[in-house]
Amino acid sequence: MKRFDIELTVGLFIIAGILCLGYLSVKLGRMEILGGKGYEVYALFSNSGGLKDGSSVVIAGVDVGRVKSIALEDYQARVVINVADGVELQEDAIASIKTKGLIGEKFIEITPGGSETVIPPGGRIRETQPPIDFEQVISKYVFGKVD
């Protein structure tokens, strides 16, 4: 009987541990940094250049959302982002794809605009800037100058 009790207890602990692990994985996997559901908006980029699902969306250096999905629409990249509730995006806000850190991780930076109109949930960020391939641009102009 004693042995059975110990085994039962151990078994229950293991199950509890697995459940906790599972819960943690799901929670972290969804990367909920915002607490609250947030709302979705989308933007069209001529080139999404290495942006991934889950990439950060940043305003003034602060995380305000995540990239939810990236799909090809009409030969452009349709990027859907999830923005934290309470963060308003003006109609003339500009979304640019930038590179962060040594690894070259891509993220979206939004510069707020001056319009009175706010982008509604499901709306579109009209002004976008694709990632700039610095090497290509520099070589273009360096070549042009060396005469």
Partner: protein
């Protein structure tokens, strides 16, 4: 990192040069909807001013520049560009300040780029694409420099009444409005709006 900054200056210089080269280069329309037509009209107007033999020479400079400015004013919506560049700081201004800033910003852009307008040397412009989405339009253009480099330039226009006016230009993907928006915001948040105005006035005054 210094190398990158020099390169950026270089890029900016060439960009500026070609930004205004495009305004008066020969246009070859590929798909001409109304917005493309408007861009072409302004381009050709300025081209005709710059190549007009009656307006040549340094003594005619005042008059020539006034004409070019007039043609550019027709096509660019300075107020919209100012609003977008100042972004959230715009609504804090009263009407007089808004008017003054719009004029100052237009002058800054003129001072920064007008010099190069007259340096036209045969750059070619091809109209690549046009997308109209309600009251917004995008006109994609390619400038072929004399050295053979192709520069993609995107005009962003918005319908104002019956007319299409430019509210942003993107060269190699880099937006003019975004460029100034970031810098203006930096200066206003670090110092003040008045400090920004002073800086711009100084820039406009320097020669």
């Amino acid at each position: 990192m210094n190398g990158v900054f020099e390169a950026m200056d270089l890029i900016r210089f060439c960009r500026n040069l070609l930004l205004f080269a495009l305004i008066f280069a020969m246009a070859t329309p590929v798909c001409a909807g109304v917005p493309t037509e408007k861009i072409r009209e302004t381009t050709e107007k300025i081209l005709s001013i710059v190549t007009d033999p009656d307006l040549e020479g340094p003594e005619k400079e005042e008059g020539r520049r006034a004409l070019i400015r007039g043609a550019v004013d027709e096509r660019f919506n300075w107020e919209e560009m100012s609003r977008r560049a100042l972004a959230r700081h715009w609504r804090k201004l009263n009407d007089t300040q808004k008017k003054d800033f719009t004029a100052l910003f237009a002058k800054l852009l003129e001072r920064t780029y007008l010099d190069k307008v007259e340096d036209y040397s045969g750059e070619q412009v091809t109209y690549v694409n046009e997308v109209i989405d309600g009251e917004y339009a995008l006109v994609e253009v390619k400038i072929l420099t004399t050295k053979g480099t192709e520069i993609p330039v995107h005009y962003k226009l918005r319908k104002k009444g019956e007319d299409w006016r430019v509210y942003d230009i993107a060269i190699e993907g880099v937006s003019l409005v975004n460029n100034y928006r970031v810098q203006f915001n930096d200066i206003i948040t670090k110092s003040s709006y008045e400090a920004l105005v002073k800086k711009l006035q100084e820039k406009v005054a320097e020669k």
